[in-house]
Each structure stands twice: as structure tokens, then as C-alpha cells.
Amino acid sequence: MKKAIWKSLVVVMTSVFLFSCSKSTTTVVAPLSATTVKDLPADTIIGITPQGQPFGTGKFTFYSLEKNTIIANSDSATTKWDLAFNGTKILTNSGNSGSGLGGAFIQIGLFEELKTISSDSVFKTDNGPSSYAVTFGSGRGWYTYDPIKNLVTPLAGRVLVIRTASGKYAKVEIIAYYKGGATLAATAPDAEKISKQRYYTFRYIFQPNGTRNF
């Protein structure tokens, strides 16, 4: 491990040296590190209908990736937020969801390995309720829902590539949909599956300089 660090350091130093000799002035950017958001509530369950449907207040939780903070619902019409969460539905500040420059698509691959958003990528925008930039539905976007075990499991190898409200870029990986940051066991009691659901844990990297590189 240490060796690898040394090796890469040597490579970096050499390239810095080589490039600094050339005409173009390259600034060495500090690598971006991932931020983890834990247990973000997304319209958590407040009751159960007589028909047996658990329900929340129906409100979205708005989140700013740039500021790494929850945005008040009163600012839902602004460009202060980048993503909004309600149950398994994730909105971007785009299309008919918001007035921002947002958008998104889902890339199959590893979070770490997404270094550059390729220039031919197509960012989708929200056009609810028929289509969303972050595709909604089991097995289609970022999760699968098992109706028998009543569990939402994030799909492995899915990166949510996000264009923020201000037109900058971020990448997001959903880690869990249950309070505590881990998917519940299939054998967990139903009551726990109800009370702990709709809490997002995710990690993300936001690129503040406006480039498509992470």
C-alpha cells in the first residue's frame, strides 16, 4: 500500500516536473474527496392507512450538494437545491421539478472509476410524473424493491451523475435507504422495515470548478 503511494507520488512529481517545463501552465488541483450524507430523511413514515399503506407527509427533502446542507421547503422554487428526495423518488432541479439548470443520468460502473463525464453524455431532465432524470421504479434506476421481503436495496455499480442547479457537476452513490446506513436484513420485523425506511445514506463528490472531471 505504502509502496503504491510512493510510486504514484513519484509519477505525479515526475509529471509535474515534465509539464512545468512545457509552456502551458498547469495548476496541481487537490484531489476531491467524497462527502457522505448519513440518514437523510425523505418523507419518513408517520402512519398507516386503514388499507395498510404506510404514508408520510408527502413532502420532499431538498438538498444542496454545493453547500452540503438541507434546503428549506420554502425555497423549493429557487435554484438553491440540487436534489430532492421523497421515498424512492429523487428529483433534480430541472424540467418541471425546478427552475435550475439541473439534470442527471445513471451510469453503470464504479463511483471511484468515474473520473470524467464523457462529453457525449446526455443529461435528462425531469418531466414528472411520466419520466424523471433519475429514473424512477424498481430495477430501473438506483434500487430494486422486493415486494415479498418488502425491502428496497440500492443496486450495485450505479453512479448518479448529477448536473446541479447552477450547471456544475457531481457524482452520487446511494449506499442505503434505511436508517443506520445499511440495508435491513430480509428477516427484520415489518415494524422496523416501516419505521427505518426512507432514510438515505449516500456519498458524493461535487466539482466546484465547473469541469466534468472529478
Binding site: G52, F111, G137, G157, A176
Partner: protein, 697 residues
Amino acid sequence: MKKRAFYIIWACIILINFNSKAQMNFSKDSLGLYSDTVFVTANKSERQVKNISVPISMITGKSIVQAGNTRLADVLREQNGITMTSGFGAGVQLQGLNPDYTIILIDGEPLIGRTAGVLDLNRIAVGNIKKIEIVKGPSSSLYGSEAMAGVINIITDKKNTDALSANIRYGSYNTKDGNISISKRVNKLHAQTFYNYYSTDGFSVRPNSNNRFITPIARTTFTQNIQYKFTDKTSIDGSVRYNTENIKSIIAVANNGTTIYSNGNENNNDLNGSIVVNHKFSDKIKTKLNTYYTQFKSKQDLLTVSGNPYNDLFQQNFKRVEDQTEWKINASLNSIIGFGWITENVNSSRYDNIDSAKTNNIQYAFNQWEWNNGKKWVANAGFRYDKNQNFASAFSPKFSLMYKVNTQLRFKLSAGRGFKAPDFRQLYLNFTNAAAGSYSVFGAVEAQKVINRLMDLGQIGNLFSNFYQLKKLEPEYATGIHVSAEWEPNQSNEIQVQFFRNDINNLIDVQQVGNYISGSQIYSYLNIKNAFTTGFEIETKQKFAKGWTSAIGYQFLITGDKDQIASIKSGTVYTKNDNGTSRLLKLSDYVGLPNTSKHRLQAKLNYENTKGFYANIRAIYRSKWAVANTNGNEVFDEGDQFGAGYITLNYSMGKPLKKGWAIQAGIDNINNYMDGLNLPNLAGRTFYITLKYSTQK
């Protein structure tokens, strides 16, 4: 506690062993492999075991009785290379292939009435069984659909003497089992009657699950056989079997997290009837004309807490006429030609209309050639062609070869192709689950029609590309290759080793083809998967002095979905780390098909003396198996949910009393292993005692 039970059993055995001063007698054919015993399933005609060139195994009626088994599922659970699966009853998994792919016969006639492909083998009472014959490997060349993994043929005891026997058994969980069998001979007429009653208060306790219930079950089976011999050349054989079962249950349906409990009553009936005319034209040519009818009827009534009744009805009829002619061309060559016609129809409340029967007609012909000059080589080749009305036709060839090195050692090689027809559910299902998420499943015949209609009504949100690939389903195919060696170095030892490889193509799988406007999923069936199972089986039997025998069986099994393996190799399958982040899945993480275990071991120790006292202990081990995909990909890997490997120990002993009476007692699952979630069919420790009476020795 476990240890104490164990010691008590051994103390019993040793004590009784010391008491009996009797001499042991060895029956020469008890190991069976090289015997003259007749075996009918492999060639669809009676042949001696030593002349059969495909891998077979046989369970004698005596060993079933001595093990104290009452249902077919209990018998098969203890056999090498067989795993009993749970879910829709107790299904049989042969060499890693699902229950859908093994045909179950009673006296050569197929049983129907599968739920989600599984034929519940608890439905079959084993009180009147002479033997069970098992052929491993594709056998569709003789039996048509479903004989992909193999054939299990239950041969009932058709005594031709006057006899009466009865037994009654009582066991834990208030389990009662009673049999009466009568056989009577009047001149040229033989008749056998069998009656079985079984009931239990149930045991299925599932911790931490919605289904916290015990299911009380009552089953009744009645069988009547009549044979009439007109002359030495012509005979007629008629039989009827009726089985009915009632299952009471409390069913829990999870609806987005809340659970709705309902009181259910399930009633399953199956009726089988056959008339077989046998005629010998000459010493060289004989024919068998067989008419068979069977019906399976299942009814489920549910009354939910809110008072909403829910009924589920399923009725399947199967009619078949078959003629099979055997021609002994010369001393070493024999040919069988057969043809037949099957018509099947199904009514179900899960199809579009309960009153309109779905029908399928099949015409088929088969031909088999056997060559055996009584020396070193035995060869067998044959094929069957099935022409189906509702799906593509199937051609099933088969070839096998045996080389007898000497009387102690033999090698067998067999290769064949088997198929399984798409079932009615895969063709006609029209089911929307209003209780759980309102998803729909449409059979392949219905799907395009129904979805297009929904489209016109504006209910379809979007369709996937595989919707446009929906077409006439093709049968699923398996190509199997078996290589085996059988060695009997002396009268007291026997060893069998068998390698197998089954490649399954065209597997029918349920796939999402679109979404409703509401986002709910729409599924249908497509021929999309390719899989394999491979491994080996070893079986040894030993005879020791003084009536002790033992048997050990081991199966090593590797399975896999070929397309998934290709995806893993190409680096497009991911999995989750424990911390929830993703990584690439390595091939070494892949575990293959669900419900398959890599290792399976069973050992049996049996003691029997000349006075008829016997005692045996049987151990069964199964290693872990994947049950559910929980880590965010579609393949089964080490990070998923597994059923834990386990051992069960069964013990039984019995002794004849005076005047035709006998007594038996035993303990199943001595170590009380239970896994309500993954093994709902495995009862906890069960004690039982049986009293028997028979006019025959």
C-alpha cells in the same frame, strides 16, 4: 440433551445385539448393483439391473419401511444426489436441477398438479410401495416433457396372493398415519386395495416472518388395482388412485409493510386412472395399449380480516393414449416402438377466464434400440419426437453404452437430450397482485394481446425492448452426459462413482417487460437463460459381520448461469461492500444457481438380525445454499442471503412380535435442527411409534 439421545440409541442397539445370539444370513442381492433384480424405468420395459447402461438407483420397499418413512418426500430426502426443496411444497432437486425438470411416475404414469413447477411430494403416501426406481440424466427419449434431470418411478406393490396388512402410527405434533392394504386373488382376477390416512397439527414455525403459522394438514389416499389375465398372452390391468388433502392456514400478505392476515383453506385433489391391455402376439412381439387419465384440482379459499373473500381455483386434466410394441429381433437385438396422443386442459382463476379451458394437444412417437449379446458390451439408442400445438416441437435423442470389464467392474457412458414443455402458467397466466404492489404477470400467449389492449386504454407507462421479443415459447432443453463406474470387489463392498454434466438451454424466465403508468411492473415469460450443473456422486455400501451394513453417499455440485458468468467475466457485474459502496464482482464470489448446495453427504448404518429386529441411524448433511439476492445485483454471490448448512439425524428401530404383529419406533431429526425461514418443510424432533399387522410374513 442431543448427546443423551444419541447415547440412549446406541445403548439400545448394543444391548439388543448382545441379546441376539442368532446367526446372520446375507442375502446375496442386498447390494443390488449386479443383481438380477428387474428394473423397468430405464428401458420402459423389464430389464435386469446388471444389463442397464444408464445410471440408476433403486430404493427397496423394505428400506422405506425400515426407515419409518411415510411420505415420498421423506424417502427421497435420504437418497444420494437428491435434495428436497421448499417453497410450494416439497420438490425434488436432482443433480442441481429444479423440481420442474424431474418427472414423477406412479407405476409408469406421470403425476400432474404442479404449483410454480413444483410437485409436492408430501402428497404421495409410501405405504404400498414395492420399490422406487430412479434414472438419472435426460430421459425424454422415452418419457417426453419434464424428464430432463431424470425420472422417479414409484412401483406399487401388486401382490398376487391373498394378504391383509395394516398399520397405525402416532407421532409428535399429533401426527397420525394409518394404512390398510388388502390383496385378493380370485382365479384369474387379482385385486389390491390401499388406503392411507395422514394428519398432522403442523409444525411450520417461521421466526421473524410474516407467516407465523402452523399448517394443520389432513390427507387421504385411496388406491385400487385390478388385474385380469384372460390367457397367458392377454391381460388387462386397471388402476385408480385418489388423493385428497386439506390444508388449513393463516396466510399473511405484506402490503407495503403492513401485514394482512387471512384464514385460508386449501383443498387439493388428484385422481389418476389407467387401463392397460397387454398382449403377446408371439415370443418375439408384444404390445401394451395404455389409456391414462388424471385430474388435479386445487381450491384455495381465503377470508381476510376485513371480510373480503378471495378464491383461487386451478383444475388440470390430462388424457393420454399410448401404444408401445416391443420386438425381440434376435438374441441380442431388441426394439421398442411407441406412439401416443396427449390432450391437456387447464382452467384457472389466474387466467383470463375461469370458464374457458386452455388446451394443449401433443402427438408423439418414440423408438428405442437395444443391443446386448450377453458379453461385454450393452448399447442403447433411441429418440422421441413430440409435436405440440401451443409451442415448438421437441426432438429428444439418447444414447448409452456399457462396458463390463468383468463381473465386478463396469463402466457406463450415456448422453441424451431432455426437454420441458412450457407449462400453462408460462403460456396463459393473467395475474395482477392487488395485494402486493399491483404488479402483473402475463403468460407468453396472453402478454402481447393484453398489453396492447391496456395500451389502447392508456394504462401502459413504458415498454422494454424485450416486450418486442415476446413470441411463441420454446421448450427448455437439457443435454446431459453421464460417465460412471461401478465396482463390486467382493460380496460385501460396492462402490459407484458418477460424473455428470447437464447443459440447460432456453430456460424460461420471468422478466419485466414494461411498466404501468403507476410505475407498477409488468412481467412475462421469455426463453432467455442458459445454465449448467456439473459434479460427481460417490456411493459406497458395505456389509460387515453380524448383520451390520452401512452406506455412504456424497455429491459435489457446481452450478451456474452461463450468461451471468459471461457478464462477470466481462466486468459488468457489481456487488456491494459491507459499507454499502460498490465494487466489481469477482468470479470467485459467484455461487451459481439458487437453492443448490455444493456438498451433500449422507451416511446410514443399519443393523438387522435373523429374528427380524432392525435398527438404523441415518445422517444427512447439506452445505449452504443461496436463497435470496440481497446485495443489489442480479447474480447470486457470497454477499447474498444463504440458508445455513445443516445436519439431520434420523433413527428408527423395529421388531416383529407374535402372530403377524410388529412394532416400530423412531426419532426423526434427533438433533432438532430447524430453520423455519429456509426449511419450512423440516419438522423439529419427531418421535413416533408404529404398530403393524400383516397376514404375510
